[in-house]
Every structure is written in structure tokens, then in C-alpha cells.
Symmetry: C2
Subunit: 128 residues, 2 copies
DNA sequence: ATTAGCGTATTAGTGCACTAATACAGCATG
DNA sequence: CATGCTGTATTAGTGCACTAATACGCTAAT
């Protein structure tokens, strides 16, 4: 089975941010349940062949963002979220992605109605 | 009257990109009409207190993007009209980006109609 | 107390994007 | 030709984001 996190070293996205994005997505989709314990910085750093500081940076930022929290000592666990919070978190993820798409549409001078038409088609074409 | 271009040196956006964005905007809004001659790299570099190479970089990229074109020598002018030649390529870029957004929406179990609603909002927020 | 795990503050190294300095080639006009 | 403009290739400098190396303090268990 594939590891929980995968780092792509040649796509320009910094490793700590790839970690953050994937964990956030896994929390939003329920792959990581509330209360789940995260691997330690050294364990994860060994798995991903990264320095513990890189993991620490990602974890710290995730804690600052409210995605993770500390419990009894240094153990990092997935934060328990209300359903409404989970929903708003998912919507926030969507907005980020959609904003990039909308920005691209604007850069390409694609009319709004046509952008919407193409987007609808993409939604229909998306398969499981 | 204010100069045509204004560079903000402490907002993190590189100067050459500020130049590109402002010129593209002025073309889109008609402030720069098709066929209008752009100031020379040295003239503009003096006005903006930048190196001619920075202007040259912006101009070259704008030409590559199809916003400007060369005419009779080195004079750079605003390109006449966007034609349909690169249209299919632009739409293909859009489809790639939109497919990623649609895929995320599906992973997050966001209903189609709500995804479209959020996307429309993103399009509106992208203005200016 | 000792051991073994934990996270991270501090420091340093590295790569890259951006900008500038310099120098050169092309074109027009006298 | 000579002059004066044009754009830019080449090179170098600089700042910053990212990552790693090292070392330290902390907690828990024995």
C-alpha cells in the first residue's frame, strides 16, 4: 500500500507545503479522523527522506491553522472539528482551487459564461 | 498627470511583472489602443528608475504572450486583435485546470450545483 | 538518574528569481 | 562614415525562500 504522504521533488512546490496540503485534504475527506495521532517528526522525516525540521515546520503551521492540536505532551493529533467547521474547511479548500482556475480564465481572457460552461463540463466528466 | 506606469517596490511583486500586468490591463481597458507605440526600453527605464533590461524582459514576455508585436524595426506596438489561433490551446489549459478543481470538488463531496455557485463567485472576485 | 523518545531554536548552506552593469549589434538619418 | 537611437546577450550581484545540521530542553518510563 502507498504511504500516506508522497512528496514530489521536482514540481516546484516546497515539501513542507505539500505535506500541509495533503494532510489538510486527508482531514477534510475523513481519511484522517479527528483524534488520530500523527507520526512523530523523526518518523515521518525518515519515511519521506526529509529533515525533521521540515516536518516540524509543516506541523507547526498546521497547528497554527487549527488543523492539528497538541495533547498531553508533544503528541500531535488531528483536531476534532464540528461538522460546520469541517464543511467550511472543505469549502475553503475549494475556494483556493477555484480561485486559481478563475484567475487563469481571466488571464486567458475567457468570457465568464464560457468559463462556467467549460467548468460544468469538467464536473460531468469527472469520474470516480 | 500621473505616469502611465507605476511601480510599487515593496509589495513583493517583481517589477517586470507589474509592468506586464499594468500594460495588459491598459490594453484590455482600451487605454492603450491597438497600434499604439510603446515607449522605448531606455525611456521607460528612465521614467521608472529601473534598468533597461527589466523593461526589455517585460516587453519580450508581453510579445511572447501576444500582447505586443514588433513592426518595422524594433518599435513595439500594441497588437491589433486577439485571433482564434491560440484559442484552442488556451481552452486546453483551462480544461486541465478546471478538471483538477472538479476532481477536488468530487473528493470533498461538494454537490455540483454548489460547486458551480462557488466557482461563479470566484470568477466575480477575480476582477481588478 | 538514566535512557529514549519527543519538538524545535539556532545556524548555515543552497538554489533560484529578480535586477543591474556592461557591452555589443542593428537600424535610421545626415 | 558618424551619430544616436533602438533592443538585448552576457555576466554578475543580491535577496529570499527552502532545507538541512546541530544542539538543546522537555516528558515519560524504567
Amino acid at each position: 500500500m502507498p504511504p500516506l504522504l508522497v512528496i514530489d521533488h521536482h514540481n516546484g512546490v516546497p515539501a513542507y507545503r505539500q505535506i500541509m496540503d495533503q494532510i489538510k485534504l486527508q482531514i477534510a475527506t475523513g481519511v484522517l479522523a479527528a483524534g488520530a495521532e500523527m507520526p512523530s517528526t523523526r518518523t515521518l522525516s525518515a519515511d519521506l527522506a526529509l529533515n525533521p525540521m521540515t516536518i516540524s515546520k509543516a506541523y507547526s503551521l498546521l497547528e497554527h491553522d487549527g488543523a492539528l492540536e497538541r495533547r498531553r505532551g508533544q503528541t500531535l493529533v488531528v483536531r476534532a472539528v464540528k461538522d460546520a467547521e469541517g464543511r467550511s474547511a472543505r469549502l475553503e479548500l475549494l475556494r483556493t482551487q477555484f480561485a486559481a482556475a478563475a484567475s487563469l480564465a481571466r488571464q486567458l481572457d475567457i468570457p465568464k459564461d464560457e468559463a462556467i460552461r467549460i467548468f460544468k463540463a469538467s464536473l460531468d466528466e469527472t469520474q470516480s
